[in-house]
Assembly symmetry: D2
């Protein structure tokens, strides 16, 4: 088929040209004398994206799942009690991992379309006078349902209860795209991956940790090697890695971090909010709704759109792919068949989003959903132009 | 700015990924023993795109302008009378070149928005009993106004008059995108360039010629060296070039020709017609009109859209570029300020066109043109989905 | 500095142009409907490189170290007794991992420069009537010393003892470069990585396993998630992955597997032997020797060259890098300062090796080692030309 | 075949990685509002490479041959008398072009292996009291024979004769590689191309001109359009081009000019001299000689090496290509079969040259030339290391 494929899954996201150019490289020796000069800047600038000021960051050749595993196995011990919540495929998988590693998981199940139940967390923490809970887990952005949770509120609950538990955050589809403040929120283990807000191909797992997490690693009893903090620290401190790093992706990471610094984190967050708002206006114009139950849960990185009864959302995704060369996200697990997803994170802009909405409109109509042609994209583009900087608003 | 730039000028056009990959190469020796194996396939397959069966094709490191010059200087002599018509910036420039080379140019000026005046050509040819006219020039697709002329009708006029003049066609923005039949239409010199339907970066000029043109070259008296047929033929016949060819673009050309063969010329023409129709439906929905005066002149590779009185079309193009990272075509020469252009040729598809139309809608409204948000893109996308293969038409 | 950097470390190795082109790609959705068509071919062809006919292969976003960990955690249980040997940095690190995971490691330490002590292994296996040894580990090619061990002989020892232990092989710097026969040798877990014989950037860990290993996974008691066989199998069987795979490297892997199939494994092994022999002839001509104690240990993928007393091999490596833009391998651990290494695996040919040897000669002389200028490269190139196919041997 | 191809023809030359990365780009609009910001820097920095301070430079989508044609057709008129000399294939072709354009060419034929006969030029100029000679042509570096001529001496001859003729220099294989001083030497038209010292793929012709040449263009009577100064000036002055420029190569040119500025022209000249000297020492060690008759003619960008009687140099080139994936230059025209050429210009360094010499040694021996294996590369590498910066000279 002709023309460019259009990628609007919530990761992998589109790779900027400068990142792509940087990865178009011959191989290099990761033990070269001048390699540390390169790697040190990476770690420093990576921490800035997490707004981690006093801890350190690890870069694993892995997916974000590997970084989850690193967080658990380096700071906890078998049988440790942890507080988690489940409201989507990714929070579900994290619970599953914790259970498989033998943690004593206190899972709070809440409705899909909502997020971390801060009040319940607050109660449990307040009740846990003996501090048996060793860690509290927050899926910052549940990619399956397009729900963003309030990390700061969980920190407040911990503080209110004067609870010493570690705070773990899955920021795979949030860090670098929406507001995340590791230092301010006292996040001990913040997990992310290369293929979302970092605008890289998948293949790097990031784990940004606090000094408290580093201290916890000294007594944590899980076996670990590949994902060991200690090995990384020993090598990273010399500018190298304990085993061969993914050198091509590291060169891409450099270019991506440069782009992030150039645009500025706050501008990036604002751009994501603006683009996401346009998508939500399109959904409204279609007469449909997003999976997030209330506006406060709305994610600025991905929207899960609920299809009408009797329609299989998988058909819409398949139609967009086969008919219009456009990748949308399928519904996963409990919302399989019920939602399709539009990723609006990373290297995206207004016109790209109008393309995504257009593809969705064609596919919805092809599958029998009677949205008005042009209604969604019209609502979105009018929002985009009215909110553009510098503002221009001639037509009425 | 974030996200991909969107390119909808009528050339350079978007480069397919496989072409881009093919050009991501180390340098090579254009005198290598096995280079002819490579070049021979290029010439053969290039001729197929022109539907030239009995002549030959030349590949110059140049723009299409160079191929124009090659056509003139190799087949004509100073003072030769030629019949040309002018109805846009590119037909104008071709006339200018002919005059500067000292040809005796009979220019027929017709209204911009119309094309080659076949009836007038027929009269002049019928009247030219002494066959003083040595060549008849046709701008197949006037890129400045979005007008396609009828090459076959000019051939018919030549035949009706039993006139031996050479037939020159500027196919820069037509060949490989819309129906072109060199053999059937008896085109003697067909000019094109790499950066339009061939989906390559600019840098190659193509000239596809008939045996009649090759014969004419034997007596043509212009001085020529860089663009000489004779030098090319001598070298090309051995699989090489008379001077260093643009080897990187040649590798890209191989990939582009493969894509063209894979999709099939007739399918490519159909795709261009379908995408162009969608754009024209958008223009209708906006309440605007294209520059082409009648439907028969409509170009399937570029639409020039007339803006309302009091609006400067250059503002719209500038707004799209600065505000929405989208390159549209400006109005040139007589239609400067009056039209903006959307290129819909080469490596394009439905969603890309919806993006282009969305960018145009935002820019039009920003500049005070009261098009209904979503009206154009809605009209286009509904056309695209209803004409998609295989057809799917559920929503009413 | 000008000109291309020269890479002759034993991994990462040079990436072929077609692999580089394949990785120059926009991102794609790893959940696309047609993705399984792509992934299935990868698994099938990857197994062929291991000559694994009846098991299956796993592809992890990781380094080879991750694949080591996967082998251990999926097929063994804490406290299991394993038989290992140590004779270089990489066999050392594997022992270290096994110990950290709580295996009961019977380590046989042998002189660096020799390899797996098959006779001792045979004795231990014969003595282990109760089959307490659950797995036997073989570092096929010790990258630190340039020593290749005899995997087939270890299989013979297992068979002679009628011992049911699993056979683990570290083939990171052997598979795809030198003779490896998983099926014939009954290797249960064969580990490799993308950045050596597979000619890719680092970032993929490969684990090719037998049915026996898959069965062992059913009762193995280590916690595991990221590197779990079970999760991979469930997803891979549908053509997908349990978490986001490194899609860019997977496209590169496709291109690399195509190159491997095109050249043919046996031809690849023969090429590596020929190139390695040339390097060893150069070492002889210099009056130096390789670290491998006997010819039978010589590795065809990397040569560790012993420098004269009083010379620090790290100076030579540094000089080659800073003075001649050439990356050679440093000595690691016990042979730090004593050897430097030339990698001759992957996408290499005669002229590249002559360049490597030239760089080594300049650096050796700069550091005070009195090798005769041109002696090594002369010996190597004469070997290369005399062993070239088709043979040409005019000059005497 | 495996491993990288090795390119040592005297153009196209090896493309640096940063240039390759810069050309790995999506297409762009050459009429974009901010395009002039980009192009202006190109012209400014291009002139610096020619050391042209007061004239201007033109960039054509063409080969260097096109720039030759531009120089002639814009500054001369049919029938003008010009003084040229012929001593190789490229000076021959330039004479041929001048004759075909109807210039009255006074050709001085001198032995191949020598260069511009300054004394004869001086005589002719002194004798031409009526100033009938309108231009004097100098092939600065004759690529076919590896001969560099003395441009400054020709300027001195012109000055001594107080002769107003224009000075034309073919600097295709010299500018950016060896000392060239347009302003100081009063060169009026200096021709070059992208694929030599500029380290780009072929496809751009450069013409750097003096104010005197620009004045001459006002009265020059050749027809011209594609290569017209006037059209270029009018467009370039606005930051654009008169027809579609080769935008991808222009982005590459930016990266190449950055590299040139970073290394510094004088350092580049010194590097070329050092690398060329090594090649000549190799030729001496082989017992062969270069085509240049005296040391003063030696070119620092290409060496043409004379093979012994009874040997066909084309066999050596073919053997290097087919047997060792190495491209050497063939002998052209009068020296066909008699010389082979090693290009040592552009993005080259010591180890690359050792590879080239190694390939030549293998090929020479394969073809029956009894050079001592390692003799040439040994002589070269010893020169390289002794002349390296900073100098290191331990081994005796």
């Amino acid at each position: 088929m002709a023309g460019f494929n259009q990628l609007f899954v919530p990761g992998p996201t589109n790779v900027p040209e400068s990142v792509r150019q940087a990865m178009n490289m011959p191989m290099e020796d990761m033990r070269a004398p001048d390699y540390p000069t390169f790697t040190r800047g990476l770690f420093t600038d990576l921490m800035k994206v997490f707004r981690n000021e006093t801890g350190r960051a690890f870069i694993f050749p892995s997916s974000g799942t590997g970084a989850w595993e690193s967080a658990i196995t380096n700071t906890l011990s078998p049988g440790d009690r942890v507080l988690m919540s489940r409201f989507g495929q990714f929070s579900h998988l994290w619970v599953d991992m914790a259970e498989r590693f033998g943690l004593d998981v206190d899972v709070v199940d809440v409705e899909w379309g909502t997020g971390v139940p801060v009040e319940i967390y607050a109660e449990r923490l307040a009740a846990d006078k003996e501090h048996r809970i060793k860690a509290v887990f927050v899926t910052h952005n549940e990619t399956a349902t397009g729900v963003t949770s309030d990390v700061g509120a969980v920190r407040a609950a911990l503080n209110a209860a004067k609870h010493p538990a570690l705070l773990f955050v899955d920021g795979v589809s949030s860090v670098g795209s929406i507001d995340f403040r590791q230092e301010e929120w006292g996040v001990d283990c913040a997990v992310s991956g290369s293929q979302k807000g970092f605008m890289l191909p998948p293949g790097l797992g990031f784990l940004s940790v606090s000094q408290k997490a580093l201290n916890a690693a000294k007594t944590a009893k899980f076996s670990r090697c590949y994902f060991s903090f200690e090995d990384q620290i020993r090598a990273n401190d010399t500018g190298y890695f304990p085993y061969t790093p993914a050198v091509q992706l590291l060169r891409g990471l450099r270019a991506a971090l440069d782009l992030i610094q150039e645009e500025g984190l706050d501008n990036i967050f604002e751009r994501h909010h603006r683009l996401a708002t346009g998508v939500r206006k399109a959904v409204d114009a279609w007469g449909l709704r997003v999976c997030a139950k209330e506006a406060k849960w709305n994610s600025d990185t991905v929207s899960a759109i609920v299809v009408p009864e009797g329609i299989d959302s998988a058909d819409i995704v398949r139609r967009a792919y086969n008919g219009y060369q456009t990748s949308l996200g399928v519904g996963l697990n409990k919302v399989a068949g019920k939602v399709f997803r539009i990723g609006h994170l990373g290297w995206v802009n207004e016109v790209m989003m109008c393309g995504a909405i257009s593809a969705a409109e064609m596919s919805l109509r092809d599958c029998g959903v009677k949205v008005q042609p042009g209604s969604g994209v019209g609502a979105a583009l009018e929002h985009y132009r009215l909110s553009a900087q510098p503002a221009v608003a001639k037509a009425a």
